[in-house]
């Protein structure tokens, strides 16, 4: 994607948020061929932002492409990592996407499921903006931490 088509501004203040920073780290980690070398942070995270126009251009037939799946997994890895930092307990993500882009994402702490998300049309997985991404992530983390608090004994089993 050429720089002209980016929707994330280089000075987007949400680039510095925990979730975006961690996700960029995760994406760089799986970039074994160095495709991202020399890319700005905005450019790496850019495909995660799906505007209405972008969504319309992605067909929901067949299986989602590999990079989209990698991004979904990177996101749940990051989410786990943030929950781990805040709770002090090990959080384990498990993302199961079957054919046609349907699936389920879990994050577990001990014997407790603290994030449980049904995924549909993974082809079009993304957020309307980095701001929305941070908002949703914060809400998910708050809910997860509440669950850990509520069922502490199962979470620490």
């Amino acid at each position: 994607m050429s720089a002209a088509n980016l929707v994330v501004a280089e000075d987007d203040s949400y680039l510095k948020s925990d979730i975006v920073q961690d996700m960029i780290k995760q994406l760089r980690a799986i970039d074994t061929f160095g495709s991202y070398d020399g890319w700005s942070e905005a450019r790496i995270i850019d495909p995660v932002v799906l505007t209405k126009e972008r969504k319309q251009q992605i067909p929901v037939i067949g299986d989602p492409d590999e990079m989209t799946l990698a991004r979904v997994k990177a996101y749940y890895n990051s989410l786990s990592s943030l929950i781990e930092k805040k709770s002090g307990l090990m959080a384990v993500p498990m993302v199961n996407i079957t054919h046609e882009g349907f699936g389920r994402a879990l994050i577990m702490v001990g014997k407790l499921i603290i994030v449980d998300k049904i995924l549909r049309d993974v082809h079009r997985w993304g957020f309307p903006s980095l701001e929305k991404m941070c908002e949703q992530t914060d809400a998910t983390i708050t809910k997860a931490l509440d669950l850990i608090e509520k069922y502490k004994s199962a979470a620490t089993d």
Copy 2:
């Protein structure tokens, strides 16, 4: 596999156990081409029994074959179904096998993980005998029911 090579006897008393009966039902359900038509119960469940000799003949390279994966999933479906009957709570299995036959099988009740099994060398997935299969299954179910009892509130959330 010809009848001569079967290791499960037609009169094996464990053929009537809950887990074996349910698993045969699951396997028949996914047998869309009717390959099992006219097969005895012993013949359908037979590949699940891996004697030492059989194990040695299965290489652990590459990905496990489709039928083995289907059998692993059928087993965890059956296990969930038995736990559901005994606990009266909905049990949801999730089997995630990545490449090379490594993976993880979960069974969830509410927000609680009641079965959590790391799978390795799925190519060679099976039990030494139907008797052992029933024993291990019973032990897993007992443990699962204990966990539900212990963390009832998370299990019913």
